[in-house]
Symmetry: C2
Subunit: 341 residues, 2 copies
């Protein structure tokens, strides 16, 4: 800092010992005063807190983490910054976590091969849990996670996984997709195209599969489908353009069902601006997630909203739980009908 000559000029680190001396108690009493459910008399606590305030003391979580088995720190691994929904998830998660005393280590898994190193990285900081909210993980990566030192809970957020070593907190993709499919048929659409994201080994969303299965069961035919290599509006715009412009109008789908909004936004751009067609009159579009842009007059996207706040709160419950049982849980979301379908 420019106002001071160097580290030496800062007030010396004030530790619990200093506060103890000032308050006339032992160091342990000081730390106890800062613990919620500690056995300490109100008078002593007040005395300690006063001394702490005047000295500017706050407990060192880093030392606490070393001494105890808990760090109250979680790692959040993210690999997909092109999807605007990630920003929403980051907000909800960090809000829920910080509101209940947890800190968040944001780890950018830089590329496809970086997930395992990123996991190790997190474990070096003694995190109590690692949360995956991306796509680039498969069983191999999960294996790496488990061999990582001090590995504790591995939580897969907003994505279902059947891996028994992970805790999956997600919307019920099957129920949600069935609701979407029912809506699609009820509104009379009959030639759907399903636009899916990348297909990883594990942790599938089960949305595409469910939709196709529903359609087969209902109409006996397999709908068209296509995979985009990332949940990126730019890529889905390009991909859908490539697919649609080669076809005559008569072979166009009447609705495009997208695995999520990131894909749907790109698809709408293609339909409106490249093909010069109307949404929903010529081709309807439906998404998943309810990102903020859905509300925009450019999209007015019909989509399915996940109860993110509820899910984030449950995640913290999981962190604080010591139960050994299966903590997987799915949530019910809500179909948000706008004008795009």
């Amino acid at each position: 800092m420019k106002t001071s000559a160097g580290p030496a000029s800062f007030p010396a680190n004030v530790t619990a010992d200093d506060v103890a001396a000032a308050a006339g108690v032992s160091r342990w009493t000081v730390n106890r005063a800062f613990k919620k459910e500690a056995s300490i008399s109100p008078a002593t606590r007040e005395k300690v807190m006063t001394a702490a305030r005047s000295l500017g003391y706050i407990p060192d979580l880093s030392a606490a983490a070393l001494a105890s088995a808990r760090s109250n720190l979680v790692a959040l691994l993210v690999d997909d910054f092109a999807n605007p929904h990630k920003l929403v998830m980051l907000e909800r998660l960090t809000r829920a976590l910080r509101g209940r005393g947890w800190d968040t280590l944001l780890v950018n898994t830089l590329d496809r091969d970086d997930t395992a190193p990123a996991l190790l990285n997190a474990s070096q900081r003694r995190v109590d849990a690692t949360i995956l909210i991306g796509i680039q993980f498969d069983d191999e990566v999960l294996e790496a996670a488990h061999s990582a030192r001090r590995f504790k809970k591995l939580i897969i957020f907003a994505r279902t996984s059947e891996n028994p070593d992970t805790i999956s907190i997600a919307v019920d993709d099957v129920a949600a997709t069935r609701e979407i499919a029912r809506y699609v048929t009820d509104r009379g659409y009959r030639r759907p195209l399903y636009v899916a994201g990348p297909r990883t080994v594990s942790a599938h969303l089960m949305r595409k599969e469910t939709f196709l299965e529903f359609w087969r069961g209902r109409f006996g035919v397999e709908p068209d489908s296509v995979s985009v290599e990332a949940y990126d509006p730019i890529l889905s715009a390009a991909c859908s353009l490539e697919l649609l412009e080669t076809r005559p109008r008569s072979e166009h789908p009447d609705i495009i069902v997208c695995e999520n909004d990131a894909l749907a936004l790109g698809v709408i751009d293609t339909i409106r601006h490249r093909l010069k067609l109307r949404v929903p009159e010529d081709i309807a579009v439906i998404g998943f997630d309810d990102v903020p842009q859905c509300e925009s007059p450019n999209y007015r996207l019909t989509t399915y909203r996940q109860p993110l706040t509820e899910m984030a709160n449950y995640l913290v419950d999981v962190l604080e739980s010591t139960e050994a049982g299966n903590l997987d849980r799915t949530f019910e979301g809500q179909l948000i009908v706008r004008e795009s379908a």
Copy 2:
């Protein structure tokens, strides 16, 4: 985890001592093997690394942080998740940081009064620096930061600050705004409206001020301007609608210059979809940041791109620097001309 009975069944924590025993050296030699510029013979290092690999050892950064004065951890305080540019910044920053061995603590400053607590929170984790990339800080907050224990570097990213106790890494707002203003006049616009974000006590962007001053100097008149209370497209859409719909067409601006893209996107939505006017023919719009949506056919926004990667890399340079001098630095960006102005 479901496959194991509990924490006890995990392989015991393997520490440097274990590796030392396996490799037949002292613990200190083991840790040295993991340090880049340590004085150790290649043969010994190889021996240690082999033992470490077979035991699955990796150094504990948490303990290292406690023992030394460095943690290689920074806190990133964010308060404005409505602005899509934040996601881009998060990506670039975490990429630059992690690429050079730094971990990132993401701290959501939940509301206006939470900035100071968030700062304290960060200091509890022994971060080597705190980076502010939001808006809700004023001199009072910075003061709080400085009285926080173990406070080191306070970096203001993507925002200029003259506070001598902070390090500001930002684009040169004055030069950038002048370039924008010159472009606006060169293209013949003469009735600009400036849409600014919230005005905080310190850390102004200097964009509004520079633009108004430029215009006064050039034409002798003060352009219209308005402030939106947050960098949120929804709010700027509402705000610009309220302003414009009360005016007759003849009193509309011919261009709306926005402090950043988040505001500009909302403004375009209002012009096109609420007022049913054309961009740029009726009203042109110009932004700042170059968020991904600028590229979308819905916006095609002319804007000013900050060299975020370069700025992020410089930020890491700052973290690794021990110089006492002024580390503030501004960068030159680039005007990206699209069709909106």
